[in-house]
């Protein structure tokens, strides 16, 4: 019996070694209730760079040229009413994330302390942390949207 267990352990160890012991990526999406008032309302979808057009055809080119590797997205709802989407772009490097953040910035952007840099509008929050770029967008404007989005953004940031 001990011999069997020893062999099994060796096989598992060998398999991990052969795979390069890749570091597992943590899920950046807060679960329902983790951030007050926010429910995660969809499964997370992940798009490789070559498939990004299926999600944001037309917008995909700018992300690809900035070095996007994968894009993960999930829907959320705040207090059962305000719908929002969280997109997490994993870029090749921090420069790619910076490029997208700066390119998309308009004059009414309000700087926020999130990650390495972040901006907020009434209905959206965008920030970068290392090679990650996070964009959170609400589909409608409500009085509490900006604060709620910021809270969700901090929840995502903590998981990156």
């Amino acid at each position: 019996m001990n011999l069997v267990l020893t062999i099994a352990a060796f096989v598992v160890f060998a398999a991990l070694a052969a795979s390069g012991c890749k570091k597992s990526h943590s899920d950046p999406f807060p679960v329902s209730g983790a951030i007050a008032g926010w429910q995660k309302t969809s499964d997370t979808r992940v798009f490789a760079a070559k498939d990004l057009w299926q999600y944001i055809d037309g917008d995909a080119e700018q992300y690809i040229s900035a070095g996007v590797i994968t894009t993960s997205t999930s829907d959320y709802k705040y207090q059962g009413k305000l719908e929002a989407v969280v997109d997490v772009y994993t870029m090749n490097d921090a420069a790619g994330a910076r490029k997208i953040l700066e390119a998309g910035q308009s004059s009414d952007a309000k700087p926020v302390q999130l990650g390495d840099a972040g901006i907020a509008y009434a209905q959206s929050v965008i920030f970068r942390k290392g090679a990650k770029l996070v964009r959170i967008v609400a589909y409608e404007s409500t009085p509490d949207a900006a604060q709620a989005l910021l809270a969700l953004a901090r929840g995502v940031e903590a998981k990156l």
Partner: protein
């Protein structure tokens, strides 16, 4: 009842298209379009389309659609007007655009308004197909998937599939959605007006990227000449012949995705048969908004929608972008 001569005469002034016309008849109409008449484009607006609470007023959308169609056709009664636009007894497709998700997609209220008038004009529910690339896009418009043939059908090419054999024109070689190639006799194009990162703007002609399997292959060079070439594919040119363009909401920069900080509400519909004239009119609307908020023109931003010019050239002959040849009616 109009005789054929009256019909063609009316068509030449940009008022009527029927799905039952032969290819020969269509070619004749298109020729007359280009050679003998201005292309009619109607821009209908209602500043009160969104209520004080910011919500869209569905009744006002219906009224706005009626006003636009009445102006375009010269028919005061909506039902009579629609009878001049669509054939009865044929399957009519409504190609919406839900790529931008819930924030910036063809408005459900407009889709429902069109469906209502189609049925009143004699089109059976089962003869109406509302479609886009896939279920997600349709849900972005607020639509619910339905494949029951006794009711208005709502489904995407993820259900119906694409042709195995590609078709080509100029620079494009594409596989068409079977909903277009096999099911629909005529398609009403219901795009939503948006700025576009590579093409400059997306509206009538660019919405056809949603009727092919791999639109990502057609974004080089600012989508030029791909958009124009794509619209010359016979099934697109001949079946997609009337645009009911949604400019109720729009993004004037940062598109085609939803950027609420660049969202604006023109509260308008832009309709017409001449897809080039419609797109030219829509482009000018975006430029006026960009000027208003003080951001560069699309040309200065390096995103001039050149495909509109290409679509009007002799090689494509899809319509006119010459303001002198566009009969613009603003109501």
């Amino acid at each position: 009842m109009k005789n054929r001569r009256d019909f063609l005469k009316t068509a030449a002034t940009g008022a009527v298209l029927l799905g039952s016309q032969s290819k020969l008849g269509l070619a004749a109409m298109l020729d007359q379009h280009v050679e003998s008449a201005k292309s009619k484009v109607v821009v209908a607006r209602d500043a009160a389309l969104h209520g004080a609470d910011g919500q869209l007023d569905e009744k006002r959308v219906q009224a706005l659609l009626d006003r636009a169609i009445a102006t375009y056709t010269g028919q005061a009664k909506p039902v009579e007007a629609w009878k001049h636009i669509v054939p009865v007894g044929k399957v009519i497709g409504l190609k919406v655009n839900g790529l931008g998700g819930k924030g910036i997609s063809t408005h459900l209220a407009l889709v429902l308004a069109v469906c209502e008038r189609l049925q009143q004009a004699g089109v059976k529910p089962g003869e109406i197909v509302v479609w886009d690339r896939n279920a997600r896009d349709l849900q972005g418009c607020g639509l619910t998937i339905n494949t029951d043939p006794s009711r208005i059908r709502v489904y995407g090419s993820d259900v119906a599939g694409y042709e195995d054999q590609p078709v080509a024109f100029g620079s494009v070689k594409v596989k068409l959605a079977k909903i277009l190639s096999r099911e629909c006799a005529m398609v009403l194009n219901l795009p939503i007006l948006k700025d576009h990162e590579s093409a400059g703007i997306t509206f009538s002609m660019k919405n056809m990227y949603g009727v092919i399997q791999r639109p990502d292959d057609l974004h080089d060079g600012g989508c030029n000449p791909a958009v124009a070439d794509l619209n010359c594919i016979p099934a697109i040119r001949e079946k997609v012949r009337f645009t009911i363009g949604d400019a109720i909401s729009s993004v004037y920069d940062g598109g085609p995705g939803f950027h609420p900080e660049r969202l604006w509400q023109p509260n308008a519909l832009i309709i017409g048969e001449d897809r080039v004239a419609v797109d030219h009119t829509a482009w000018q609307m975006i430029e006026r908004k960009r000027a208003e908020v003080g951001i560069p023109t699309l040309e200065a931003a390096g995103r001039l929608p050149r495909y509109i010019v290409t679509a009007a050239d002799h090689a494509h002959n899809l319509g006119t972008n010459d303001p002198q040849r566009i009969h613009l009616l603003e109501v």
